[in-house]
């Protein structure tokens, strides 16, 4: 069979950081080809190269066995390569329909570009089971719907090679199932699907072949029948897998955080408490008030009604003081957690640079800041271990390790962790879970907002499932029943779900 796309000894370096080294493998027509590896293994860079966003230092990309010269996003699109990236390429104020039609071949010009063939879009939606509201600005859609808009856009221009980069990270369980189905349908038509994912069960469920990357190199490309979870994990981490963090019973202490009847945006009268030595998890499908909860706790927006108490005191008076006495692992590590253009030295002191020990008598103590960054790198295993590199040159998992290190190093009485393990690799996930449990043992109160149910089950003492801004399902760890939790995601009570 003639490969639709082939990498030949592709190498890409960012300064001293090697993203891809001598990468060679091929993508066949009609296959779902999974690409797995830890954060920083070079998956995103490789897909950037295939879609023309990143220029390789050496090596060639072949499409239909013909080398592509001067690859740009536009030429690669013409070759039929479509990228559905983790951060969508969409105009937020335009509707789904307009985004799909935007800039498609033959529709250039001042006015024609926003009009597309609605009938064809409908057909595509039906054939591939990609349901979206077409006439709503994509900004108002859920992340899952936005992703479907993105895929429809690629199909609308007949992409033959679809790259889906971590497509399931933002989806609810039911949506994942249907996306995997869609991928199979697309492959059955002879298209090539490249599925980049950390989620091995999904990879094993849908892939025909799996390519494992480690440290920028291809470890192996294997047919699905030759791999199982254990083998895959070994190939990915290059040895035996890390042990999952162990939860153990512990009596909580004083109440640290109390949220009462909090109302703001989609948040509608939520109440919860977090005590010392307790991890409280807040789960649910995205867009049920999680963002607003984090926003209120961070002091971005005041509550419309209700109140937040910290150590028994209402925080209304001095939100900034409250903010600066807690630790926060933010949702968006690129835009909130880090200053991407600055080195880890500045990033390690972010938010505390104007206080002791990083400032004394109104002067920055760069020596203390450097020492602090080096310490975080050391304790949290950040790679590469060079504090003078800008934050942007670290992989997602390493950025997240560093942020967690910064926030936990101040031993905060309360930690707010928002999707702390989204898009990070297995090693980093288990490391972060272990750190959360250690902080809990120290006596920290931890509020964990996540969309990942297995994460809730792994580390939480108590969980809330948000639905339409309220706690729809609440349970202590030993009372959690997975079915009830699943149906609560959709706003169904336990009795309804059994039917």
């Amino acid at each position: 069979m003639i490969p639709t796309a082939r990498f030949v000894e592709v190498t890409k370096k960012y300064g001293r950081v090697t993203a891809n080294e001598q990468v060679s493998f091929s993508i066949l027509p009609g296959e779902v080809h999974a690409l797995v590896g830890e954060n920083g293994a070079g998956k995103s860079t490789l897909m950037g190269i295939l879609s023309g966003f990143v220029r390789p230092d050496a090596g060639t990309v072949l499409i239909d066995e013909a080398p592509v010269r001067d690859a740009t996003p536009a030429t690669m699109l013409r070759h039929g390569v479509g990228l559905c990236a983790q951060h969508f390429h969409q105009v937020p104020t335009l509707t789904g329909y307009e985004n799909i039609a935007l800039g498609r071949a033959g529709k250039r010009g001042l006015f024609g570009s926003l009009r597309g063939d609605r009938k064809r879009i409908r057909e595509l939606m039906q054939r591939y089971r990609l349901d979206v509201e077409l006439d709503v600005p994509v900004d108002d859609l859920s992340l899952g719907e936005r992703e479907r808009v993105e895929i429809l856009g690629l199909l609308y221009r007949d992409s033959r090679i679809l790259i889906l980069d971590e497509p399931t990270a933002v989806l609810a369980a039911s949506e994942v199932e249907s996306l995997l189905q869609t991928m199979r349908t697309l492959a059955a038509e002879g298209r090539s699907i490249i599925f980049v994912s950390h989620k091995l069960p999904e990879v094993l469920a849908v892939a025909d072949r799996v390519t494992v990357l480690r440290g920028g190199r291809v470890v192996e490309t294997l047919p699905r029948r030759d791999v199982d979870t254990e083998r895959l994990v070994r190939l990915i981490v290059g040895g035996s897998p890390p042990r999952p963090a162990q939860w153990s019973a512990q009596v909580p202490g004083r109440e640290v955080l109390a949220v009462r009847d909090a109302t703001l945006g989609r948040l509608d009268g939520l109440s919860l408490t977090v005590s010392e030595g307790q991890i409280v998890g807040v789960g649910g499908v995205e867009g049920n008030g999680q963002k607003e909860l984090a926003s209120a706790l961070l002091g971005y927006e005041p509550l419309v009604s209700g109140e937040i108490r910290f150590m028994g005191e209402p925080v209304k008076r001095d939100v900034r003081k409250f903010r600066r006495s807690i630790g926060v692992i933010p949702e968006d590590r690129h835009r909130e957690g880090l200053i991407l253009g600055r080195s880890l030295v500045e990033n390690g002191a972010l938010g505390r640079h104007d206080r002791s020990p990083f400032s004394s008598a109104g002067v920055l103590r760069w020596d203390k800041m450097r020492a602090h960054a080096a310490e975080i790198i050391d304790v949290y295993g950040v790679r590469p271990g060079d504090a003078t590199l800008p934050a942007r040159s670290f992989s997602g998992g390493n950025q997240q390790r560093f942020i967690a290190g910064r926030e936990l190093s101040q031993r905060p009485p309360l930690l707010l962790a928002v999707h702390p393990t989204r898009g990070v690799d297995l090693g980093a996930v288990q490391f972060l879970h272990g750190r959360l449990l250690e902080e809990r043992a120290r006596g920290a109160a931890i509020l964990l907002i996540t969309a990942d149910l297995s994460e809730l089950e792994a580390v939480c003492d108590r969980i809330h499932i948000l639905y339409r801004g309220r706690s729809f399902y609440e349970a202590a760890r030993n009372e959690i029943d997975t079915d009830g939790m699943q149906s609560a995601l959709l706003g169904l009570g336990p009795s309804e779900s059994r039917r």
Binding site: R335, L338, L350, L364
Partner: protein, 381 residues
């Protein structure tokens, strides 16, 4: 080398992209040659936009001169000897560079928080008037009058610059629009105050300031500068540049300002006082521009005259741009633009001085183009 030093904001040593990291703890002896050639290459890449735009721009100036039937050699010979080729020329160039340093610093300061101060012209006018008004009535004991006059200039400029800052912090109104519009209001207010009593009858200038508010001329001490208006305001400008560079590098507020500029989301997340920092950045910029009048008002004419700013506030944007908004680099950048501006008068007999205005603009455009090429592809997708 640089690995052990604190990093200047926006300095070429700051590893803005992964290709230009510092080299801490690098094995010193073995890798030295390799490192040096790498360092050299990096420096060249950083310097290239400046060198290329200036040399290409000057080459184009030669072509224009030739088109005007003037030998390019004569043209540049005249330009050279009239400006930096003689001490009198230097005195003129430095006099013109002085307000450009202040205004360049003003723009660069606001830009630390990624705010664009297009209002330096108005801030300078307001500051200059305040300086002259206070300088004329201040008690002349010791340096009091000088200090009061400078303070009044900085304060007036700071208030004028602070308005767009506060509006941005409170309402989110864009500082570019507000600062542009405030320029018009500044000129109107200045004229109004002149007409309503600050100006001498039948003129557009104020009364003389008291003698103790004068800044001395350099020619008082260096006879070679005789006849050139360069004065002690130059030292004040240099002092401001050094102080600003140090402040940005060594103080927590300086770093906060840069965090706000480079990562607004991170600043908000970290609980920094975003509104206060925004207002502060703009009023600080206004104060620096407000001091820009010192050279003319306190050091040269000793009074305020309508239109004395002469576009220095706008040229300050160009100065800051070419200096990549780094405080110390503002100094050579301002001297360069000062030389080109004064050069217009020097060559005016052979080619129209507008040629040099064109040259300034061409060099800037070329710089922007080369700079964009240099910074393109920074970071990963």
């Amino acid at each position: 080398m640089t690995g052990s030093m604190p990093r200047t904001p926006g300095s070429p040593r700051t590893p803005r992209n992964p290709e230009t990291p510092g080299t801490p703890g690098a094995p010193k002896n073995r890798a030295t040659t390799l490192m040096n050639s790498k360092t050299l290459r990096r420096r060249l890449r950083v310097a290239a936009p400046v060198l290329l735009s200036v040399s290409l721009g000057l080459a184009l100036g030669g072509i224009i001169a030739a088109l005007l039937q003037v030998s390019p050699l004569d043209f540049y010979g005249q330009l050279w000897s009239g400006t930096v080729g003689s001490s009198f020329g230097w005195g003129q160039v430095l006099y013109r560079a002085t307000p450009l340093i202040f205004c360049g610093l003003s723009v660069a300061f606001a830009f630390q928080a990624r705010l664009f101060n297009i209002g330096a012209e108005g801030q300078m006018a307001v500051g200059g008037l305040a300086m002259a008004a206070v300088g004329a009535v201040a008690p002349s004991a010791g340096p009091i009058a000088l200090i009061l006059a400078l303070g009044a200039g900085a304060l007036a400029g700071g208030i004028w610059g602070g308005i767009p800052g506060v509006l941005k912090a409170r309402t989110g109104s864009h500082e570019v629009i507000v600062t542009i519009l405030l320029n018009f209001i500044a000129f109107a207010v200045v004229n109004y105050l002149l007409v309503r009593g600050l100006a001498l009858p039948e003129t557009v200038r104020t009364a003389e300031i008291v003698e103790s508010a004068h800044l001395f001329r350099l020619s008082d001490f260096v006879p070679a500068f005789r006849g050139a208006p360069v004065n002690a305001a130059l030292f004040l400008a240099l002092l401001c540049a050094v102080a600003l560079a140090a402040w940005l590098r060594f103080t927590p507020w300086g770093l906060s300002l840069q965090i706000l500029g480079e990562g607004p989301g991170a600043a908000r997340y970290a609980g920094l006082p975003v509104g206060r920092l925004t207002a502060f950045a703009m009023s600080g910029a206004g104060a620096l521009a407000g001091l820009g009048g010192a050279s003319f008002v306190l050091g040269f004419k000793h009074y305020f005259e309508e239109g004395f700013t002469g576009g220095a506030g706008f040229l300050g944007i160009a100065v800051a741009l070419l200096a990549r908004n780094r405080a110390l680099a503002v100094i050579p950048s301002a001297i360069f633009f000062g030389a080109l501006s004064y050069g217009g008068f020097v060559v005016n007999r052979t080619v129209p001085r507008e040629v040099l205005d064109v040259l300034q603009a061409v060099i800037l455009i070329l710089f922007i183009v080369f700079e964009a090429r240099r910074t393109a592809g920074e970071g990963r997708t």
